[in-house]
């Protein structure tokens, strides 16, 4: 029995190796393909890559054979030979219990579609926040990516200097507060969006307007508050600090904020939220206090059009400033690819949010 056991093992191992070899044999490579065609690797490579110094008939023969043999160039070899990786990196810094940006999926979806179209790959590197810088260095040194997308820039984001010094092409989604001419970015006009939203509420007769904003070390949040304040000032309305909040953009934050606001001697008649998630929290608070949205209190939000939180179908139809984050992903990706491939590009792209009227806002009564 000991013997037959060993025999079995030997056999199965041989079989395994056989299978593996067979499996690998199926993967055809340039050499086999060219031998098969009676051509040199050079010609085959050129034919497939669309170089002009190949006879069109030959090219057709090659392409057909490649298809028939199920040939696909080994991308590692290709990358080594060309020095290009056809890959774009996203570094996601993350602490153990950190909140993951809920916009991420949608952005990635949009970017991913664009990458796919241009035959680029997307590499995502999740690292501890403290190792973010390292991650970029590594990406550069080991030639894994041709460029990167920078997410969620702070007012004076150090990553920008770093990437410049690394000579690594990059596009920032959002922008820094200063010197935003020195690199490429794609951003929504947050300032304008929020001044427009505020003006809309003011136009409806509201004077006490609350702002529930994200953390204001993020530039987008700063700009949103600026837009809000500008519109208020322009209308000659006082800015009441006690009606402004800057915090994490989650449901309970907005809920608590609204509860606090409504207890004030002079509560707001309109509330402007920086995200739909916050709007949900605000909405819940209003329900809990038996206030009718769109009548007792007007509610507006900035809507990133996250796919799982579609304002169009959801909730009291909400008046929003909308700008699709998925679209942003695509735009960033395309800009970066153009940059990498040396095409002329605009230095940056500023998108405007769109005002969509719902029933959550109305003229101030009383």
């Amino acid at each position: 029995m000991g013997f037959s056991f060993l025999l079995f093992h030997a056999l199965s191992k041989a079989l395994w190796i056989k299978l593996k070899q067979f499996g690998e044999a199926k993967l055809s490579n340039l050499k086999k393909l060219s031998e098969n065609l009676g051509l040199s690797q050079t010609t085959v490579s050129r034919a497939l890559n669309g170089y002009p110094e190949v006879n069109e008939n030959t090219r057709k023969r090659v392409i057909n054979a490649a298809r028939k043999m199920n040939y696909q160039p080994n991308s590692n070899a290709q990358r080594l030979a060309t020095g290009k990786s056809k890959t774009i990196g996203h570094v996601v810094p993350l602490a153990k219990h950190d909140m993951i940006n809920p916009h991420f999926s949608d952005f990635i979806a949009g970017a991913g579609e664009a990458y796919n179209k241009h035959h680029y790959d997307m590499l995502i590197s999740v690292v501890a926040a403290s190792e973010e810088e390292d991650a970029y260095h590594k990406m550069k040194r080991d030639g894994r990516v041709d460029g990167v997308i920078v997410h969620a820039p702070t007012a004076n984001d150090p990553r920008i200097a770093l990437l410049k010094s690394l000579d690594m092409p990059f596009v920032v989604h959002g922008r820094t507060y200063h010197n935003d001419d020195s690199y490429n970015w794609v951003d929504v006009n947050n300032r304008r969006a929020f001044s427009q939203a505020t003006a809309h509420l003011i136009g409806l007769g509201h004077k006490n307007i609350a702002l529930i904003n994200g953390w204001e070390h993020m530039v987008f949040a700063i700009k949103r508050r600026e837009g809000f304040m500008a519109a208020m000032q322009e209308a000659g309305l006082p800015i009441r600090e006690e009606l402004m909040v800057s915090d994490e953009m989650i449901e309970p934050v907005a809920n608590m904020a609204v509860r606090r606001f409504m207890r004030q001697p002079e509560p707001p008649t309109a509330i402007l939220c920086s995200s739909m998630l916050m709007a949900i929290g605000a909405q819940r608070a209003l329900y809990e206090m038996d206030l009718r949205i769109g009548r007792d209190v007007s509610l507006m939000a900035f809507d990133d059009n996250l796919s799982f939180m579609n304002a169009a179908t959801s909730m009291v139809s909400m008046t929003v400033m909308r700008s699709g984050i998925r679209q942003h992903g695509g735009i960033c990706a395309n800009l970066l690819i153009d940059l990498i491939e040396g095409r002329d590009t605009p230095p940056h792209i500023l998108l405007e949010a769109e005002l969509l009227l719902g029933t959550s806002t109305s003229a101030k009564v009383r």
Copy 2:
């Protein structure tokens, strides 16, 4: 002027090339490193990769020099030489206006951390749903990944047969309905979670319990309904089809469902939701109908512990069955890596959700 213009151009071009060369010169490689050390590339490579046939002093010298020269192996070369890509793929099928799974970010975060720890990369390929199969073929042929994670399996998912035939290591997050012994998966015990949740509600005296479920072509949703029905049957309670919904897992769906339920002659006194997003919709409906959660109607949900929707801090403290999706990501990643590296692994991992009591459930009154 024409001349000086040309001269300028020539100069700046030279400068550019110089800079480029300089930039590339900075990237040190094995050759330079070994020359610098007076050793062969073989020895240096072995020293760095921890092979035993290298003198420990030599190894130390090498490691120091590598650090000093800022050496990092070019991963494309490494991959070409070893045939391993140290990369794991995720194929994300996506239609133009598809909803993007909101769990995705959290899962990716968890998986990404694990990859990072084991020095693996994560490659995400966003493709049209119709091209998903192609995407796997490609990944296999061009040697881009060592394995893949399969998301959101359907009852009889064709990807499993495909990946087996490609001889590509994979781990499924979730599982098929049948034959789930033939491949590796990581799943939460949805059946048990929902029977436990239902039993909890029954224990509180509820008899008319509604189920707001996801689309039941997803296996997880099927199992959840089974769990629900099993608990009802065990308690001898009738299963009322009109109190069950299977639909997209978004806020408005749950909202509409609850409104419909509550108009029934015998409305439910407890509602079980398949996700927190749905619970929010249900909650809103109850508010809108002036019903108190946890008193008039008990509400429970399955909580994937999405970071941006943390039940602990949010809302009426919700009674939930919790199972962290981020953790799942890590577990899937580790299992797959073990698989790829030939370590012994359990064939699959079944996780149990945890019952967390909140104030959204209470004994049935009246």
